[in-house]
Amino acid sequence: MAREVVITGIGLLSSLGEGVAPHVEAMDGARPPVIDTVSFAPYPVHPLGAVEYDRQIPKKSDQRQMEPWQRIGVYAAGLALDSAGIKSDAEAKDRMHVIVAAGGGERDHAVDGQILTGLKTAADPGVFLNERLLSDLRPTLFLAQLSNLLAGNISIVHGVTGPSRTFMGEEQAGVDAIRIAHARIAAGQADMILVGGSYNAERRDMMLLFELGGVMLTGDVVPTFARDAGHGGMVTGSVGAFLVLEAADSARARGATAQARLDSVAADRTRRNPADITRALTAMAGPLTGAPLVVSASSGVAACVAEEKAALAAIAPGATSVAMGDLTGHAVEAAFPAAVALAAALLQAGRGTEAVVTGVGHHRGEGLARLSRA
C-alpha cells in the first residue's frame, strides 16, 4: 500500500535571494532576474549575491572546509530544515535520511593555470606535475571536491545522520534523487528524507566542460523556451535547493504543515533519437485533468527545448508554465529539485491545484514530477 508523500520543508537559495518569496515574485515579473554578463563573458551567469553563511553554518571552521558549491548546498539544506520545523529536533535529524544530487571537483583555478603554464616548458612533465601538485594543492581541497562531501557536511553542520546517499550524473541526478526519495517513503522504507542539490555556476571549470560539448549559450540571454538552434544553450546559475519529503502520516503526527503533495516522480533515459524526449515526457505525464501549473527545469539546449515544448503542448495545452532557468539560471544537478520547490511553493500560495515539473538533461535523462495542493 503506497503511502502519501508530502513536502514539509523547502529551502531555496539563488541569485534572487533566499526562501520561496523572491522566486515567486520573480515568476510574477515583480523581481527581475539577476544576470552578470561581464564576469564570465562571453558566458552570462546568474550569480549568487552576498549570503550570510553564519546563519546556517555557524562555525567559520566549517565554512572554511567547504568550497562554494558545498556552502550553497548546506545553507539551502538548513533553510529546508527550518521550513519543515525540524531544525532543533536532534532525535528526528538523527533518523532523517539524506539524498543529495551532486557534481563535485571544484578546481583551484590559479594552481591549474600555473601548472599548465609550467608543463609547457618542463623538461620532465610527469615529474614536474608530481612536484607541483604535492606543493601547491591544499590538502583539504580534496574534501571540498568529493561528491559525497556535500552530504557529509550536511551531517556535520546540521546533525542529519540517518542513511545518506549521493547521486551523480548532472541533471538526472536531481530527478533520480527525488524519484528514489519519493519511492522509499511511499514504500515505507523511510519516513522523512532531506533531498536536493546545489550548483555553483561561478566557476570556469564547469563552463569549460559544458563549452567542450557546445552546450553553453553566449551573448544575449533570451527566454528558455525561445531558444533555438540559432541561439540556444545553457545559462547557468548558482542555486541551492533542498526539500524535506515526508510521509503524510508522519507529518500529521508531528503537527507539521504539508506545503504540497508529491504525487509521483518518473524518470527515463532515452537514446535521444528524434522525438524521444517528447514521447518520454508525454508517457510520464499520464492523463492530466484541468490545467496544471508547469515548472520546467529545462537546460535551454535547443534540441531539448523544442521537444519539451512539443510535449507540453500535448500534455498541458494552455497551462501556465515557467522555466526555472529564466528565474535562477540553469542549476544542473539542482535544477529539478529547485523546480519542484517552486512548484510546491506555488501550490501552497494557492496558484493552482496541480503542478507538473519537467526535467530534461542537457545530454541525458528525462524526468517528470506531479504535485498537488495539500
Binding site: 603554464t117 610527469g126 551531517s155 545522520t161 545518506s164 528514489i180 570556469r204 559544458f210
Partner: protein, 425 residues
C-alpha cells in the same frame, strides 16, 4: 507471492544469481578467488605515470586492459563492463542487451584530466588561464571530452550495453559506494519496483593527482618496499591504505523470480544497515556509535542475532584509525565472542578499491560462503595488542560459513554494512 519467498518482515527475499569481478589479482572470480585464498597480493609498483618525488609509489592498478593512454572514466567503464559481463552471463537472466531491471552503479567522481587540459592549453602562448582553455574549447574540436567527463556517462554506457531498464543511478558514498549500490538494488526489489537489479562498483582512478590527494591527507602507506607487504590491516605497524582498482558486479533477483526460472542461487542479501556520522569529514566518532549502529541495523534488517554471524568481512583499510575503530565497533556489536569470530581484510591483497570496494568485498563474501574457506589477512607479522582479534592471519582457513557481515566505511561519515547468507534466515 508465497511466504517462502518473503523474509520475516514480509518483504521479498533478495537472492544473488550472478557475480563478476576484476581486480589487480586478475580477471574473473575464479582467478581472483584462487589467488586471494593463497594469500597472493596484487599490489605492485606504479608504472602508469612517473612516481618520482612521491611518497607512495605502489598501488593495485589493473594495467592490461588498454594498449593506448586512457582516462580514468574509460578504465572505470571497462572494469565495470568486464565484471558485469561475467555476472549477467552467470545469472542467465534476460537476453543479451536486455537485462530486465535497473542499474545501480558506484562510480568514482570524474573530471577533465591533465592530458585534456594540456591539449586545450596548447594553443595558448602566454600564461595559461581557464579563459584561454575556454577560448580553445569554444572551437569545438574536442566535443568527445564533454561526454567522457560527465558524471553520468559511465553508467549510461553500461546501461546501453546491457539494456538495463529505467534511469540508471550513478552514486557515491565514498569508500562505501559499492555497498550502497547493492543496498539500493535490495531496496528496489523489496519495494517491488523490480524483480532484478544489476549492481556494480567500479574504480579505475589511480592517477598522479588522485594518489597525491590521498597522500596529502596522510592516508596512504609509504612502506613501498616490497609493495606486496604494504597493506597490513590490523597489524601494529600499519601505516595507511594502498590504492587499488577493480570492478565487481552482482545480479540481485527476487527469490521468487530466481526460483521460478530455476536459476542457480549463489546466496542471499539478507540485510542492510546504514548510519551517518556527523563527527568529522575524515575521522569517525570516537565512540564508534555510527559504525556500531550500522552493523546492528544490518543484523536487525536481516532478522539475525549477532551470534548467528560466522565471519566479518572487514572494511580493514590498514589505516591506523579505521582498523582500531572497526575492531572496537565489532567488539561492541559481537561482545566477548569477537575474540573468536574470524574477521579478515581482502584489502591486504587487492588494496583499497575505493568506490568499488564494497562490491568487490561483497563478491568475496559470497565466495567465502560458497567455498567454505575464509580468505586471510596477509602481512600480519606484528599483531597490534589493541586489536586482539582473530584476523585469520596470513593463511586461509577452511570453515563452515553460512552468514557474513561485510563492512564499508567512508569519508564524509558513510557507514554501510551488508549481511550475506547461504539461505534465508
Amino acid at each position: 507471492m508465497s511466504s517462502a519467498h518473503l523474509d520475516a518482515s514480509g518483504r521479498p527475499l533478495v537472492a544473488v544469481t550472478g557475480l563478476g569481478m576484476v581486480t589487480s589479482l586478475g580477471r574473473g572470480k575464479a582467478d581472483n578467488w584462487s589467488r586471494l585464498t593463497v594469500g597472493q597480493s596484487g599490489i605492485h609498483r606504479i608504472t602508469r605515470f612517473p612516481t618520482e618525488g612521491l611518497r607512495t609509489t605502489i598501488a593495485g592498478t589493473v594495467d592490461d586492459l588498454f594498449d593506448r593512454p586512457f582516462a580514468a572514466p574509460e578504465l572505470s567503464e571497462k572494469l565495470a563492463m568486464i565484471a558485469a559481463e561475467e555476472a549477467v552471463a552467470q545469472s542467465g537472466l534476460g537476453r543479451p542487451g536486455d537485462f530486465p531491471g535497473p542499474l545501480f552503479m558506484a562510480v568514482p567522481p570524474v573530471e577533465l584530466e591533465w592530458v585534456q587540459k594540456q591539449e586545450l592549453a596548447a594553443s595558448s602562448n602566454a600564461d595559461v588561464t581557464y579563459q584561454a582553455l575556454l577560448a580553445d574549447a569554444a572551437r569545438h574540436r574536442h566535443t568527445d571530452y564533454h561526454a567522457m567527463f560527465l558524471f553520468g556517462s559511465v553508467a549510461d554506457h553500461i546501461a546501453d550495453h546491457f539494456g538495463t531498464k529505467g534511469s540508471p543511478i550513478s552514486l557515491s558514498t565514498a569508500c562505501s559506494s559499492g555497498a550502497t549500490a547493492i543496498q539500493m538494488g535490495v531496496e528496489a526489489i523489496r519495494r517491488g519496483d523490480a524483480e532484478a537489479a544489476l549492481c556494480i562498483g567500479t574504480d579505475g582512478s589511480v592517477q598522479a593527482e588522485s594518489l597525491i590527494r590521498f597522500s596529502l591527507l596522510s592516508a596512504l602507506s609509504t612502506q613501498n618496499d616490497p609493495p606486496t607487504a604494504a597493506s597490513k590491516p590490523f597489524s601494529k605497524n600499519r601505516d595507511g591504505f594502498v590504492m587499488g582498482e577493480g570492478g565487481a558486479a552482482l545480479v540481485l533477483e527476487s527469490y521468487e523470480s530466481a526460483r521460478r526460472r530455476g536459476a542457480a542461487i549463489l546466496g542471499f542479501v539478507l540485510g542492510c544497515g546504514e548510519k551517518g556520522d556527523g563527527f568529522h569529514r575524515t575521522r569517525s566518532s570516537p565512540d564508534g556509535r555510527p559504525a556500531i549502529v550500522a552493523m546492528q541495523q544490518a543484523l536487525a534488517d536481516a532478522g539475525l542475532e549477532p551470534d548467528q554471524i560466522d565471519y566479518v568481512n572487514a572494511h580493514g583499510t590498514s589505516t591506523p584509525e579505521n582498523d582500531k575503530m572497526e575492531a572496537m565497533s565489532c567488539t561492541a556489536v559481537f561482545g566477548e565472542r569477537m575474540g573468536r569470530l574470524p574477521i579478515s581484510s581482502n584489502k591486504s591483497m587487492v588494496g583499497h578499491t575505493l568506490t568499488a570496494a564494497g562490491a568487490v568485498e561483497a563478491v568475496f563474501s559470497l565466495l567465502t560462503i560458497a567455498h567454505g574457506r575464509i580468505p586471510p589477512t596477509i602481512n600480519y607479522r606484528e599483531p597490534d595488542p589493541n586489536i586482539p582479534l582473530d584476523v585469520v592471519p596470513n593463511t586461509a582457513r577452511d570453515a563452515a560459513v553460512r552468514r557474513v557481515i561485510s563492512n564499508s566505511f567512508g569519508f564524509g561519515g558513510q557507514n554501510t554494512c551488508l549481511v550475506f547468507a547461504d539461505s534465508p534466515a
